[in-house]
């Protein structure tokens, strides 16, 4: 009876957690619009009955039901005080996109199914107090929809603008934005986003505010990084002129080359395997050698064929076997980790670079793992897998087994610049590196030819040897990190934006802060950086 009472009490306790909590979906996508398979902003309001230090988790099933990807964000809420939490997530199903939970201390305190989303290919996000009058033009562009959002619903993570073709800013109350949202808009534009800003009637204050002002200031001929900054000096949404047929061509021009195409996956450049560390070989070799020597000694003792020698021998074998099993456990843990390919591509005019990484989990013990991604690197399982991704100050990825693949992007500082000068004496380059990190194994890429130069410290001026050029597509296979180099040189040839620059510095950085962390140790801390070389005046 006591047992039954305990079971009943436990069951009752799990169904109705002490204090209770409620979850409300404050925002899903951009006004309910989302592209399936793309990062989507989700805002959840949490109200807890007691103080909560937990995680808001969204379970997102794939169309077949499995696997379920879990996206989360940490939450700390005082009793009764509503807290709004932002969770970036990727949905695969529009009718039942997923379920949001509040979890703390291993318990699920509340759950709430997400409402359906309106699936679109791309979204034109508009901040305006008045309709733009361009909806018909947008509709003709394809499966693109217009979403009117409030400033405070702009996501604070730039990657969640993935489905946005154009951000139109006509009305902007800066007090309703925080720095994270401003930086997200900036980073999105730098990485290829397209923003259209216009006055609201005769009000132009927001155009020079902290959100839009820097973008206008830094843009050169409408370009900033890989993105576009478009400024209209008139207000087409003004009720007196809205819907003017003369505006249609202008809208079509703005919309025609919207979203940047998806970058090719770095997966082919990820190393095929993760070598067993040398220390595992050395320790195993040393232990075996010691064991062989020990066996020779004990063998003579055992030949006495008395109980004590026999017992000694048995103990020796058992201890050695236990040590071997223990060593194997440590070796398998040591051999587990992440293999990855990471590339940082300069975003012109920003002093920053776009970091792309693709990683694969190598888990020898096949058990649970926890990976930490650097701040700002939002990773997704590619393809979808049963994994939990909690986005906070850092990104925590936890799962089980081996073979999980992750891909992610981030904007990181890249304070390296370079120029080249072609004169009668040949070509020389000048590099300025303010990163404090040495650029290892640098290559100069010029018009499909490459040449390796000496490592670069704070600065370097190098005269290129005309006899040392080699075709970029015939790199020696013995070259370290050959797959990623080949991938990069191919990308310099094929990428619509990158191929506009014919001269590049390509080199390696060793920055543990940009590496994935596995069990507290940085994994694959090398990053390939791409810096355009501009013509020296």
């Amino acid at each position: 009876m006591t047992f039954l009472a305990v079971v009943a009490w436990a069951a009752l306790g799990s169904a109705q957690p002490v204090g209770g909590a409620t979850l409300a979906v404050a925002g899903l996508g951009f006004d309910g619009h989302a592209r399936l398979g793309a990062w989507t902003p989700v805002w959840i309001d949490v109200t807890a009955g007691t103080d909560v230090d937990g995680t808001v988790v969204i379970d997102v099933p794939t169309p077949t039901g499995q696997p379920v990807v879990r996206y989360g964000a940490p939450v700390r809420a005082a009793a009764g005080a509503p807290v709004r939490v932002f969770v970036p997530a990727i949905f695969f199903e529009s009718r039942t996109p997923g379920t949001v939970h509040l979890e703390a201390a291993g318990h699920r305190l509340a759950s709430q199914p997400l409402p359906r989303v309106r699936p679109v290919d791309e979204i034109v996000v508009v901040l305006s107090s008045e309709p733009l009058g361009a909806e018909a033009t947008v509709a003709r562009t394809g499966r693109v929809d217009v979403a009117y959002v409030a400033a405070e619903m702009l996501p604070p993570v730039w990657q969640t603008y993935e489905a946005v073709r154009l951000l139109v800013v006509r009305t902007l109350d800066e007090r309703r934005l925080d720095d994270a949202q401003r930086i997200a808009v900036r980073d999105w534009v730098w990485t290829g986003g397209r923003i259209l800003m216009m006055p609201e009637g005769d009000d132009t204050r927001h155009l020079s505010g902290p959100t839009l002002g820097p973008l206008r200031r830094d843009a050169r001929a409408g370009r900033l990084g890989r993105g576009h900054v478009i400024v209209w000096t008139r207000d087409p949404a003004d009720p007196s002129v809205r819907g003017n047929a003369a505006d249609v061509p202008a809208w079509e021009t703005v919309l025609e080359a919207g979203a940047v195409g998806a970058a090719p996956s770095l997966e082919p450049a990820v190393p095929a395997g993760r070598p067993v560390p040398l220390r595992v070989h050395l320790v195993a070799g040393a232990m075996i050698l010691l064991y062989v020597l020990l066996v020779r000694r004990v063998s003579r003792f055992l030949a006495l064929l008395q109980p004590v020698p026999v017992a000694t021998f048995v103990v020796m074998v058992l201890v050695a076997t236990a040590a071997a099993v223990r060593l194997s456990v440590l070796a398998r843990r040591d051999a587990s980790g992440v293999v990855s390919a990471t590339m940082v591509e300069m975003l012109p005019g920003t002093g920053h670079g776009l970091l792309r990484l693709h990683a694969r989990v190598v888990s020898s013990h096949g058990g649970a793992f926890a990976i930490t991604a650097p701040p700002g690197v939002l990773v997704r399982p590619a393809p979808p897998a049963s994994v939990t991704i909690v986005t906070g100050p850092t990104v925590q990825i936890s799962g089980q087994g081996a073979g999980l693949q992750l891909s992610g992007v981030a904007v990181v500082p890249l304070p390296v610049s370079g120029t080249y000068h072609a004169g009668a004496g040949g070509v020389s380059i000048r590099i300025t590196n303010r990163s404090g990190r040495r650029i290892e194994h640098p290559w100069v890429y010029m018009d499909s030819r490459v040449q390796m130069i000496a490592p670069i410290g704070e600065s370097a001026q190098v005269s290129l040897d005309a006899s040392r050029w080699q075709p970029a597509d015939r790199l020696q296979r013995t070259e370290p990190h050959h797959p990623l180099l080949v991938w990069t040189f191919l990308r310099l040839e094929s990428d619509a934006i990158l191929r506009g620059t014919r001269n590049w510095l390509v080199g390696w950085w060793r920055d543990p802060a940009l590496a994935l962390m596995w069990d507290g140790r940085p994994e694959a801390p090398l990053q390939l950086i791409l810096v355009p070389l501009s013509a020296s005046p």
Partner: protein, 239 residues
Amino acid sequence: MNPVARGDLVVRLTSARGLRAQTVYLAVCSAFLLLSLPPEIGRLDLRDANLLLAVLAVQIVAVTYLSSAMASSELAIEGEKGLPDLALSAFSPGVIALGKMLSSALYAGYLLAIGLPIFMLGAALRGAPLAPIAWTTFLSLAVATSAGVWGAWFGGRFASDFTRSVMHWLFLGIILGGTALLPETWWPANPFRATIVLIRDGWTPWWLATAAVYLGLAGVGTVLVGRFITFARSHEGGV
């Protein structure tokens, strides 16, 4: 303890050649382990049963060969008494026969014991199941005991080194290779095929039957050794 078995074990465990033999045995096993350390332990293709089978095959072959080669004097250990010498001793044929069987079994057990940590390391590194190692150890013991007893009989029955060596290798060839050529129904008779079945399907009663067959073969060899001693004593001077 049986005096014949005690004598054999003492010389095998203490003589220079005996120590060399076990060192070489451990070195071969260790080299196999270190060379087979994969570049990436966790890759699926390296977890498959073939690698575990290879490790277990090395164990079966090495233990069986050492056990039979020492008993047949192909790998002569200084101080170890062969059947012709023992025929002249005061021990009864039963004691000699049982002693040879015991020395083969105990020495095979010794080799398996000292190799255990290395084989466990090899298997555990790949996350392979450890049960097959335990079962294969049992089978190796049966096969090596039988080979040891028959090797002892060959050592007495055939005076010519060449003939003895040929018969010894023929015997090893039959139990390790010849049985593999039998129809599929008889595959458990072969230690390697029985190990494959063990890794693939787990333990089955056929596994016990195989071990029992080899233990039976060891029993037959023991009887032959006893009869050889009796025969040799009855035809003293002709041997």
